[in-house]
């Protein structure tokens, strides 16, 4: 705050305190500086920009500061400064206008400075983030540098697979989570409904070679689900327990662009039926055409 003054000086200062005009510089430091820098846009606009907007307009400045609204898309909305009081806000206005005089705005660097971080650039990679066309508890998985998946931990199921890259997440990362991450590349396969009946309950995942082995329940069935990359697609390894007493039929979407095969069971068009024994452990292969 302030350097400590000697008692005598301070006593005089505090005697004058009641009459002294508000100190715009220190009010600015306390209330504004965290978001408004002199010459560079930070959380809010710079003082250089504020000077352009409010030069000789202290009334407008006070009005805005007491009841701010949302002006800039993607920006954080400013909280009300009503607690400062009008004389204080006028002093802040005067201070901002004066120190920004003749100062030039600096440009803010664009692009994600951490795109190449050891974790962001890792392949394979698992990243929980808000994703399009999925529930809010989605998980993104880069199987390798080509094939990626969206797995929904809320519904315990695969939502879609895409090729051509992983995520463009900077809009999400640079903010507070209001933006979705973007998919890099093209969605090649979408699973519109869960494969298994029964209420889903997510138990988490184990990391195996950098890839997750999901553990969940669908009804009374315990399931582990693991994905690995394969040539032109991916392989899905499923284990179910306890063994059911009747055969299991899984229905897949009819998509010409994806060829689905299995290491067990019998296919009838887009439906795969597995015997109780087969259903305890099987793999499905997805190859993009």
């Amino acid at each position: 705050m302030k350097p400590y003054l000697s008692a005598a000086v301070l006593a005089t200062a505090s005697l004058c305190h009641a009459q002294a005009p508000p100190d715009g510089a220190s009010l600015y430091t306390l209330n504004c500086a965290a978001c408004h820098m002199l010459d560079q846009s930070l959380v809010g606009p710079s003082l250089v920009e504020i000077r352009k907007l409010y030069l000789e307009k202290p009334d407008d400045f006070v009005k805005w500061a007491v009841a701010p609204g949302k002006k800039r898309p993607g920006a954080v909305e400013m909280p009300s400064m009503v607690h400062v009081g009008e004389p204080g806000l006028r002093a802040i206005h005067a201070h901002m206008i004066s120190i920004a005089e003749g100062v030039k705005e600096k440009k803010v660097a664009k692009g994600d400075p951490f795109a190449q971080s050891p974790t962001q650039a890792a392949r394979p990679q698992v990243q929980r983030i808000f994703l399009p066309d999925a529930g809010p508890a989605a998980i993104a998985i880069a199987l390798d540098d080509q094939i990626s998946l969206c797995w929904d931990a809320g519904e315990c199921r695969l939502r879609y697979a895409w090729t051509g890259g992983f995520l463009e997440g900077y809009a999400y990362w640079k903010g507070n989570g209001s933006s979705l991450a973007k998919i890099k590349g093209t969605v090649r396969y979408t699973e519109p409904t869960p494969l298994f009946d029964g209420a889903p309950k997510f138990h988490g995942y184990d990391m195996d070679g950098g890839l997750p082995v999901f553990r969940y329940k669908a009804g009374e069935r315990n399931i582990t689900e693991r994905f690995t990359p394969s040539t032109g697609g991916f392989t899905r390894h499923l284990k179910l327990s306890p063994a059911s007493t009747s055969p299991l039929t899984l229905e897949f979407p009819v998509e010409k662009s994806v060829e689905i095969t299995s290491d067990a069971g019998t296919w009838d068009k887009n439906r795969l039926t597995l015997s109780p024994a087969e259903a305890t452990s099987f793999t499905l292969s997805f190859r993009f055409q």
Partner: protein, 502 residues
């Protein structure tokens, strides 16, 4: 008294040079950031072996070894981790957006291989402001988490997790309609709770298998922890229904002021809390145990943490410290109890030091170092970790503030120069409880203060000439005080919220 006065005079004559600074007693060291990693810190925890675990904005959990000054990666890929707690078996509980996750390194290779969903029994709309905080552990091993409400700064997502509450002026279609959000947001409430337990504290059994909605009324509660007496403390951020940032003591079934969460009460009658009379809500709410005046003490308080014995001078032992995002200091809690009611005086700590802003998470190392983890998340803030270490030299500070029938007694760490007590400034004001964002000070009054010192000069009695006023925040500005050795107070203002007057 005469010897004091003589000493003080001597002090005045020779002593502007004696003026004390935080940097005379504390060192401030920035830890190296982990290479390449976005260094915004969401959680900090000191492990039993003294290493520091930190969770970062993009979901890494990394371990810092103070001996080698190097980082290693323990886990990655979590979403906005904002709390962490080490378990007895060495696993780490980490609170992320969607769940409380238990990270287990069973094969002891330094990396977690199990990411176990410890608890995810709450709703999410996908709104950015639905942050999740905690856990804090009580002496019986139960865990407490607290869930932030959603913000009308954005709609909900088309897909949500959990039951959607029909209570509210906007229906599901309006709530997810981003195209017309400017209009629809006016119906949503500034902060809203449309899925279960947003704005609630939840109590979990030690194994996470059973959960109990514990207390409601929270807005953006970026701080949960226990004090040394086992009180569960939660901080919240100034905003709608928050006249200024509060500190609460949480009790079962309590309602803590922000109404949106009320719809998830078990016996709720279906009314829209935003349409209820403010007087009724006011009667229902538990008053804050402390208030941090906006722009003066704190704008966005964070984690409460107990100061371990010996980390700071002895008057700090077992007191509570609170982080703060927007002001370049921390907040220190001075406990009081009147007729069984916990209330506090709050004092700035490290104000005027090089600490800086963005003070999101706190942890004490084995050697008494205070680690301060910083973040911004596009709001005011910073990044990285600052290590603050006391050098063992005493300084002039407030030890405690207690309410009396006609004012306060203040204990101080050193005898006071009696010639300086005349400069004490005392004021009080109250706030308005309303849906608006924040409150101006209401009925601010300067109070006449008559100060007397105890025989040893280290206890100050401030007589305000009448009883304390309930529901008022009392400011004791002791900036003018000097110790007999001529030093000013480090942390010289105390804001005492009087809920019960003695």
């Amino acid at each position: 008294m005469i010897p004091f006065r003589l000493l003080a005079l001597a002090g005045l004559l020779i002593s502007p040079a004696l003026a004390d600074n935080w940097t005379d007693h504390f060192s401030f060291e920035a830890l190296p950031n982990p290479p390449g990693i976005d260094p915004q810190v969401g959680a900090l925890e000191v492990l039993p072996d003294g290493r520091l675990a930190a969770a970062f904005h993009r979901g890494e959990v990394m371990i810092y070894d103070p001996a080698s000054k190097s980082w290693s990666l323990f886990a990655s890929g979590l979403q906005e981790p904002l709390g962490m707690l080490v378990q007895q078996d060495g696993s780490l509980l980490v609170m992320q957006r969607a769940e409380l996750t238990r990270l287990v390194d069973a094969d002891k290779d330094g990396k977690a291989e199990r990411y176990e969903t410890f608890f995810d029994g709450f709703g999410m709309t996908g709104n950015y402001h639905e942050f999740a905080y905690g856990p804090a552990r009580d002496k019986d091993g139960s865990l407490f988490i607290v869930l932030g409400a959603a913000s009308s700064g954005a709609p909900i997502r088309p897909e949500i997790r959990g039951e959607f509450s029909k209570i509210g002026r906007a229906d599901f279609d309006q709530m997810k309609d981003g195209k017309n959000w400017k209009e629809n947001s006016k119906l949503a409430g500034r902060m809203y709770s449309r899925v279960p337990y947003r704005g609630w504290v939840i109590k979990l059994s030690a194994d996470g298998r059973t959960a109990e909605p514990w207390a409601s009324g929270f807005r953006s509660p970026n701080g949960i922890g226990f004090d040394t007496h086992g009180r569960l403390l939660v901080t919240d951020n100034q905003g709608d229904w928050r006249p200024t940032s509060p500190l609460y003591e949480i009790k079962k079934d309590g309602f803590y002021g922000h109404p949106a969460s009320l719809v998830w009460r078990k016996d709720w009658d279906g009314r829209d809390p935003l349409m209820m009379p403010v007087e009724e809500l006011d009667r229902m709410q538990t008053p804050a145990a402390g208030y941090m005046p906006q722009g003066e003490l704190a704008n966005s308080p964070t984690q409460p943490l107990i100061i371990p014995d010996g980390a700071f001078p002895k008057e700090f032992d077992r007191q509570t410290l609170i982080g703060e995002m927007n002001q370049p200091w921390l907040v220190r809690v001075l406990d009081d109890e009147v007729s069984g009611q916990f209330q506090t005086a709050l004092v700035p700590f490290l104000d005027g030091s090089p600490l800086g802003i963005g003070n999101n998470r706190l942890a004490f190392g084995k050697d008494g170092s205070l680690y301060v983890g910083k973040t911004a998340l596009s709001w005011a803030g910073s990044f990285g970790i600052t290590r603050v270490k006391w050098n063992g030299t005493p300084f002039f500070s407030i030890g405690g503030v207690k309410a009396t029938p006609s004012g306060f007694t203040v204990t101080l760490s050193e005898p006071v120069d009696p010639s300086t007590t005349g400069g004490i400034i005392t004021k009080r004001h109250t706030y308005k409880y309303h849906a608006n964002y924040g409150s101006p000070k209401v009925d601010e009054t300067k109070l006449p203060a008559k100060a007397t010192l105890s025989g040893d000069g280290a206890t100050l009695t401030i007589d305000l000439g009448g009883p304390l006023k309930e529901k008022y925040l009392h400011l004791l500005d002791l900036t003018a005080l000097r110790s007999v050795s001529g030093n000013g107070l480090l942390g010289s203002k105390a804001w005492y919220q009087v809920n019960k007057a003695p």
